[in-house]
Symmetry: C2
Amino acid sequence: MAEEISGRGDPLKSLHLLWGRASAGKRGPKSKVQLADLVQAAIAIADAEGIDAVSTRRVAEAVGISAMSFYTHIPDKSALIDLMIDAIAGGPEGAALPRFDPANWRDNITMVATAYRQFYLDHPWALQVGTHRPVLGPNTLRAYEAILSVVDGLGLDEVEMDMTVTLITNYVFGAVRDVARAASVKQQTGMSDDEWWYAIAPFLETIDWAPYPVASRVGPVVGELYGLGDPDRAFTFGLERMLDGIEAMIARKAALRA
Amino acid sequence: MAEEISGRGDPLKSLHLLWGRASAGKRGPKSKVQLADLVQAAIAIADAEGIDAVSTRRVAEAVGISAMSFYTHIPDKSALIDLMIDAIAGGPEGAALPRFDPANWRDNITMVATAYRQFYLDHPWALQVGTHRPVLGPNTLRAYEAILSVVDGLGLDEVEMDMTVTLITNYVFGAVRDVARAASVKQQTGMSDDEWWYAIAPFLETIDWAPYPVASRVGPVVGELYGLGDPDRAFTFGLERMLDGIEAMIARKAALRA
DNA sequence: AATTACCCTTTACACCGTACAATGTTATGC
DNA sequence: GCATAACATTGTACGGTGTAAAGGGTAATT
């Protein structure tokens, strides 16, 4: 299994585990470990060494059970991934959602987008998990509720709200990918960005740049100022453009109503 | 190797292969296969069955050489991934870049963004490849040149141009992820979205939706109209918002100059 | 003719996810 | 009290992965 894909196994089994509806097991011997132990161990491994290091064998060993005992608690690896995703979506602890004042919608979106970005920066391995089919766990749902709330009360209809949320999450996902991946690539290759550029620089000088006039003009300027680019600044820049675009839509709808 | 990461092995080896500077081998017997044969075979497998199905053994077998013979041509799997990415970045055939008229910049960006999206839709496995460190092959560079060109001549400085390109590519990447992933998930699970929803629907009715008021209001409306959502419409919607945001920036800069 | 450089191959290792069967443990029904 | 059903845990095994190591064959160079 090369790529981790959430929602791969029997969806119902994952859902039952996500919502704590596992049958619990009355008859046999007590479990040596809890479901949450396995999930936390897996997250710890992923945070420390990346998602690649998370194998069923390693997780089982980490909590002190044998490789196959893992499957007593979790039906397959994709269910483990689902549980990991929902667990980290919970954030540090189940804090109540703040009340968002629509009047400050720009600040609200900025706050939510930044938090969403931080989520991925804290657990960059989550980027590598395919989440087309949403992990419908309690924490994931709460995150969706939060981001929907910040576009509520702006005069948008339901479909526009959903598409605006999609716009925001899509942008954040794309924007965080580079910076988070940087860490994981370095982890796996043991080579920093600077070392990498230094290694390939001599070769780049042998390339004929004539077919790439704009790139050869822009590239050096950007590189000199920011190295590989300043992810924080690029994120803020893109977010501002997006907010301006959303503002134009809100203004247009308000004008229509007047 | 669970996740494919480009630029993992010796960067110089990949670069030499990308630019056709491989030593070619004068002394020994003729190669039974060409480098391009291996790359094309790997792409065919990935297009048909996803990146997971691409293993060095299968690629070697597909072109008629033994498993280890693969390593005569390509130093390791990450180099193969690099070559695959650059090969598909070339598009159908090396067509010359169109001249972009800055006056039609909205159309230009739309065209490039749509083409970039189509690139991922044609080869969804490319989404799963970590590309933090760019694959600096000729075709990839040409694609970067193209997208930089459409933000050239708009009155932006080099850094703004780069960040605008980043904004666009980030959005497209995020936007295409869902729809492309849908195909790959279905491929791996053999379950369509409808089947999936049908399977989990009974469970969803047992959930207490009170903590998720906005989601439970928006979700059904969106779902009824579009099922899991209309990716094409969502893409266009987000792109329009982004263009509006870029337009505001261009106007502001023009006003400053006046 | 000898050497050298190169392509191809077989074998092997350590890892992966997990199917299967066996063994041990506990709460329940009689 | 005891048989039984339900459960947890375990070792073994299979087919897959990337690739290191070593050896055999072939063709151009010396």
